[in-house]
Structure formats: C-alpha cells, structure tokens
Amino acid sequence: MTPIAPWYLRPLAAVTAILFAVLIGGMLIIASGANPLAAYWQIVVGSLSPASLSDTLNWATPLVGMTLAAAIPLRGGMVNLGGDGQMVIGGLVGALVPIYLPGLPGPLAALLSLIAAALAGGLYAALAAWGQTRHNIPMLISSLLMSYPAVGITSYIVRFPLRDTATGLPQSEMIPEAARLLTLSGALNLGVLIMAAIGVLAVYIDRTTVAGYELRMRGSNLRFAAYGGVRLPRQAILTMFTSGAIAGTVGAIVVLGSQFRFIDGALLSPAYTWSGLMAALLANGEPLGAIAAGLFFAALQTGGFAMQRETSVPRVLTMVLQSVVILFLAMRHGIARRAT
C-alpha cells in the first residue's frame, strides 16, 4: 500500500534537481573566481541563440542517440554501460565499409555502412546480454569491461594496420565523398533526421507495441514479467542488441556525417555515452522524457563551449552539473528502480 507518485511528480523533481545543480554549480563557479550569472547566461546564449542552434542540434544528434541507447535497456531494468565500445565499433565499421567497398554507389554505401555499424554494435552488446542469460555474468559489469578491449582494438587498428598513410595521424583514411551523409545546413547533416526517426520509432514502440509493454513490465517487476510468460532471455538479448545497434549507428553517423573518417578518440572525447546515460537515468528510461533530457544536456554542453570561451569557466563544469542532477534525483525518489 505504498503511495505511487502522480505523473507530474517526476518532471517536477527533475526541475528541482536542475535548480539544485545550478546552485551547486554557481558555488563552483564562484570558487573559480568567475561570475555565475555571466557563466549561466553564456550557456543559454551559446546553445539556444539562433546562431548556435544548429551547433546544439549537431551535438544533440549523437547525444540523444546515446541517450536512447541507454534508455531502452533501462526501461526494462537493464543497464548497458558499454556504449563507448559499441559506438566505436560502429564508427570504425561505418568508416571501413565505404573505404574498402569503393565500387558501390554513394547512398547505397552509406546505407550499407549504417546497417553494418548497427549490426556490429548490436552484436557486441548482445554478447554481454548473452553472458548474463547463459552464464549469469551481470551485463552491467560485463558490458563495461567489454568496452575497454573494443576501444583498444579500434584504436590499434587505426594506429597501425589501417592507419591513414596520407596524414600519418591515428585515423582511418577519408571516406569517399559520395558516401558521406547529405549536408542539410551548416553543420547539420542527414544524421539529424536519421536520429529523429530513431527517436520517434523508440517512443512508438514503447507506447504501442507488445514488445514495449513487455519491456515496461520487466522494468517494473522482473518476477512479474517472468511469471506472466514474458520470455526473459530472448527479451534481454534483443533489447541489448537494439541498444548496441543504436550506439553503433551513432558512431557511424558521426563518421559519415561530420568527421568523414574514423579518428582515434574523437568519438569518445565528447563523452556522449556518459551524458546519454545520465539523461536516460534522469527520465528513468522513459523514451520521450529521455529524449527531452538528452536535448537539454546537449544544449547544456554546447552552451558550455560558449561559457568557456567567454568567461573562462571550464566547460567540464557541465558534466559536474549533469551528475549533480542525477545524484539529487537518486536521493529524493530512489529513481530508476531497476528490476535487473
């Protein structure tokens, strides 16, 4: 007979958490000698002003993607901490397909590339799920541990065997121009639309399909789902596959749409995976809320660049703000009650 929260309580709690983080952040800014109001203003201007909006959307594409990659398993009470590994595998595969299959017409190469990246990322994530369903190795731990070898191997590949001989830098060759994702305006490319479509699909599946229902029930009470006849092992593997596939697609989109090659470390340094995870936790795995949280964090981080440029407050502060929000929410509500 526990009172269950009405629908508006979570967004309200999220807003409170954000205010709390703003407060803590303000203190940290003062400690660095800068003016918090000026800093926060820069964040707002730097992300939402018409000039910066396309930058924000561009940053949002991979970030929201990684948010969905984390949110989908979280909806079912599962945690995928291996997003980094799945993303770089997808990115590398996404770069190699057009480079080493030069005969294909451009758009087909791009499509194949995205599909291959999704498959690669998905299989790698599904491996962690299989470890749990077959051998009881918690996927939370195994997914994270598997990330390190994935990053290591992709890094090695572009530093040695497949290194770009033209520049000598630790990166793959440039992908053929025809395979690149269509530019929409400025920095924005087709990737935004692809990601938007994935987002719509995720919300649709969650709300209207049998699979979405079964995932939500698993997230609400694992034993109930088992008792009701939901096939748990298959669900775990399919869910993690989907999660890894999205992460892989994110990697490919960045490679095909922005960087036009796989650059060692470039996918990891913006920390999309971890911001995405935090956005997913904020929304407790609920897809629409997660997308909103992802957009919010993207704006926060894009604004952070401006903040650093104009007020010298290190933009890494935005990561601190994000984690404070999560921690605050974790306290007040026991958020993200995982069924695992």
Binding site: M1, T209, A211, Y213, E214, N221, R223, G229
Partner: protein
C-alpha cells in the same frame, strides 16, 4: 491478593496516515500468564506487538512493566526491560551459526574479541535448563523450522526475557510440533514468566491460553477469561458477526485429467532433491489440495508445474499437451493459470496501472493486440469490466495497483488469472493476508471454477482452507507426496500426522 501485572499497556494509540491502527488499546498481562491476542488481519495485532517491543513508538498511551512506567525507544530498550519477541517470520541470520545468532548484539567478550567458548557453554546450559536442545555450531540455514523457532526462543531467554511475545508461532509448525511448543510455554510460565501470543487459531487459544484479548478494527473488542468463554464468543468479537465456519460444497462430476505430473524431480541445495519423483493428477471438476508444512517442496512443485523452475526429471502435461521443458509462456498457452503466493512481488507490478496488470498474459493476442500493436482502448475496457465483475475497490483502470489493500490486490490477481478461463488453475496461498470478505469471495470463485469443469490445484498452509475446499488432499513431506486422502477421511488429526511425516496408521 493484588499482584503487579507483568505488563500493562494503557490507552495505546497509533496512526498511519489516515488509518488508526491502534485506537485506545488497553492490555494487561499477569505474571505466569499465557495471554492470547486475537483478531483478523488488519485488526491491529502486529502494530501493538511492535510497539510493545520498541520497534515503533505509540502516538499516545503508556507502557508499564512490573508496575514501572517505561518508554521503549528501540528493541534494545525493550530487551533491557525484559521483553523478548519471536516474530512470525524468523529474524535469523541463515549464514551464521546458532550461537552467533543467539549472542548477536550482546556478545561475550575477551578483550577485543568474541569469547566464543563462553558463548557456546552458556547456550548449551540454557538449552538444557529449558529443555530446548540445539547444536550451537549448526548453521541456522540448515535447521528445520521447528528447531529455528527454538533458536528464536533461546535468543529471548539468553537476554533474560520475563515477558515473551510470540507472533503466530504455530503458523509454520505441524499440529504435533505445536503441542511441543505448548508444553514449552507452560514450563516457561511456571517460573513466573508471562507469554503474550498472537494468533488467529481458535483451537489453540481455547487449549493453551489463560485469558484472551480480542482486537477488531484497532480497538479492544473483548477481554475474556478462556475458561469462561466459547469459540463462538471469540469469533463474534473478532468479526462482529457469527460466520459459518465451513461451506459445504456440492459433489461435482470428475472428468478427464487436465494436469498430469509424472515423477517430477527438482534439484535442491545439497544432496537431497527439493522434489523427489512427485506425481499427481488434477481432473476436470475437482479441487486437489496440497497440505504440508511450508518448506516441504510445495513452492518448488508449483514452480515446476508452471515452468518457472527447470526439472531434472519427470514430465508435465497440461490439458493433454506436453509442456515439459517449455518456458512459462508455453505452460500458459497450453491452458494453465496461476495465482502466486506473493501477490506483490510476483503477481503484479505495483507501479503499473490496473489495466496493465490485468492485461498480462493477454497482451500479445486479439482483442488486446494485433500485429504486435496493443489496442489501448480494448485494454482499458477489459480492465473496467473485470473491476466491476470482481468488485475491486480502485479509483479506475489507470490507477496504479500499488495503492490497493491486500485483499483488493489479490482480487486483481484472481480476476486476471480467472479471466484466462484456463482449464487448469493453480492457486497458492490464495487468501493469505486477505480480509474475511475477500476470502469468502475467493473461495466462492475457486468453487465456481471447479463447477465449471476446470481443475484446481490448491496449495495452502491453512489446513482449514484445504479441508473445506478440496475433494482430495495430497500431503507433501520432504519433497514427496506421501499420502492421498479423500475428502471424507480428511480431518486435522489425520492430516496433521501426515504433515509431520508419520504414515497413516489408521486414518
């Protein structure tokens, strides 16, 4: 001759939000007395006991021990003042040994270390003195329920308890073990200790207690001297009405086998199997009851029959189809519905709405789903219909079920499982923790299932429930079915002997 009562509670009030769990409760227990506290579920017994043991603080009222007013802020205070409590679900550390369990929190020391030698000796001596033999070095997790209860009692005695609270002590004992417990209780009170025991079993109250306090809806409904009262008086005080004690069900036609289990074997911890070549059959139009003390393989049997637990041997057929090795979905598809023992942790998703809870099992086929898409409107309609038909008290189909009372939540589970119209229904402890009204309703539903020509397997720790509903009673002991007793020959004495493992001498 007026002697100071061992325990006196005056004007105890305890509120939980809008509910008044204890409403001006007075209780007096004399030295050397066995005092029973009776009441239905939700009457306020558990609340009162936790206040007496310092687990909770009353909103108003006084507590006097040996005439001295005390304030118990925690169990430590209660223990220090001579209170001891044996909870219904044992508070024992299964991974620790008996002596570690007993001295926990009051360890004898030698310098900075535990003096385990002294501890063991003290416990052996204590056990001997009270006739409660235990092996101090045994790991509690390996002990039988009866022995574990002894450990619990020794825990209290080690701390020199003068007033012992026993909460539903016989819930997990066979009738014979209960008799042993009563002997122990008499011995303990012989040297002036008092025992307060909470129960809902009339028979025991009449047999062992000196006085009875009956609670109803948080208030004291009656204070009776056992020798001067009758079971009917007590029941009337508990419920406010006289109820018929068992319904006499009609004889229904027994048909074809709907559930057939053959030589089921399930691995257990250690060498002994949890299920040892169990075979049973449930026919159309009958209720088969499984009696037995909890922990003799009933849970494993149900899990094996429903597909929640893998078998290491044997076969299961549901309505003619072989489902051995299939997953839960396979069992259900063959025609099986299941009311689980744990309605909150297994039978429902508390944070989800009633509509979503009621949809489970139906959510992947018409009319609720088509081509993988769920029809929201159909789901709500269905929920509305079930809520009305089963008279479930809930705000609406979208309300989360976590807000429901025990009885209403159980109705949700029952409604869902019955609406499957499955040939086989397995009901596990279907009325545990459920108020009398809902219990009567659920019993009526089970009988209706039988009359429809379905087969019901009823697993219950409430012998009275088994006896009143079953056409046949199977007794489980140590993972085996050791007897089958037809309705005519089933009574508490014969079944009780069987539950303890003794074979049928003359049933």
């Amino acid at each position: 001759m007026l002697t100071v009562p061992a325990l006196e509670a005056a004007g105890i009030v305890k509120r939980y939000g809008a509910t008044l769990a204890n409403d001006d409760v007075d209780l007096t227990v004399a030295s050397g007395e066995i005092h029973a506290v009776m009441g239905e579920n939700g009457a306020g017994k558990s609340t009162l006991m936790s206040i007496l043991y310092g687990l909770q603080q009353p909103d108003a009222g006084r507590l006097l021990l040996q005439g001295q007013e005390v304030r118990l802020r925690s169990p430590l205070d209660a223990i220090a003042k001579g209170m001891g409590m044996v909870h219904q679900s044992f508070k024992l550390f299964n991974g620790l040994t008996v002596w570690e369990n007993i001295v926990f929190g009051a360890e004898p020391r030698r310098g900075l270390f535990i003096d385990s030698a002294t501890a063991r000796q003290a416990i052996a001596a204590l056990g001997e003195h009270h006739g409660l033999s235990v092996d101090p070095d045994a790991r509690v997790g390996t002990l039988s329920v009866g022995v574990r209860q002894r450990v619990e009692i020794l825990k209290a005695l080690y701390r020199e308890a003068r007033v012992l609270i026993l909460d539903e002590p016989t819930a997990v004992l066979t009738p014979q073990e209960s008799a042993g417990l009563f002997l122990m209780m008499r011995r303990l009170t012989a040297d002036g200790r008092s025992i307060l025991f909470v129960t809902h079993k009339l028979q025991e109250v009449m047999e062992i207690s000196d006085r009875v306090t009956v609670l109803r809806d948080g208030r004291v409904a009656a204070r009776l001297r056992t020798s001067e009262t009758t079971p009917q008086d007590i029941v009337r005080a508990m419920t406010g009405r006289t109820i018929a004690l068992t319904a006499a069900p009609s004889q229904a036609q027994r048909g074809r086998p709907l559930l057939e289990a053959t030589e089921l074997t399930v691995a257990g911890p250690g060498n002994r199997p949890a299920l040892d070549r169990v075979s049973l059959t449930v026919h159309a139009g009958e209720i088969v009851g499984i009696a037995g003390v909890a922990g003799n393989g009933q849970s494993e049997l149900v899990e094996a029959l429903t597909g929640l637990r893998p078998l290491s041997g044997g076969t299961v057929h549901v309505d003619g189809s072989a489902v051995t090795g299939a997953d839960v979905a396979g069992h259900r598809a063959a025609g099986l519905a299941y009311i689980p023992e744990d309605r909150g942790n297994v039978g429902s998703a508390l944070a989800a709405s009633a509509a979503e809870n009621l949809a489970m099992g139906f959510h992947n086929r018409p009319p609720l789903a088509q081509h993988g898409r769920i029809n929201r409107a159909a789901m709500t309609e269905r929920a509305r219909g079930l809520i009305e038909r089963f008279d479930i008290l809930i705000a609406g189909p979208e309300a989360p079920v976590g807000s429901l009372s025990g009885g209403n939540l159980q109705k949700v589970v029952v409604a869902r499982e019955l609406s499957h119209e499955a040939p086989v229904l397995i009901a596990e402890q279907p009325t545990r923790g459920v108020d009398v009204g809902a219990t009567e309703y659920i019993h009526a539903q089970l009988l209706a299932e039988r009359d429809k020509g379905h087969g019901v397997l009823l697993v219950s720790a409430e012998l009275s429930e088994i006896l009143s509903l079953s056409d046949r009673v199977l007794v489980m002991y140590e993972g085996r079915i050791i007897a089958e007793v037809p309705r005519a020959k089933a009574n508490p004495d014969s079944i009780g002997l069987l539950m303890a493992g003794r074979s049928v001498a003359a049933a």
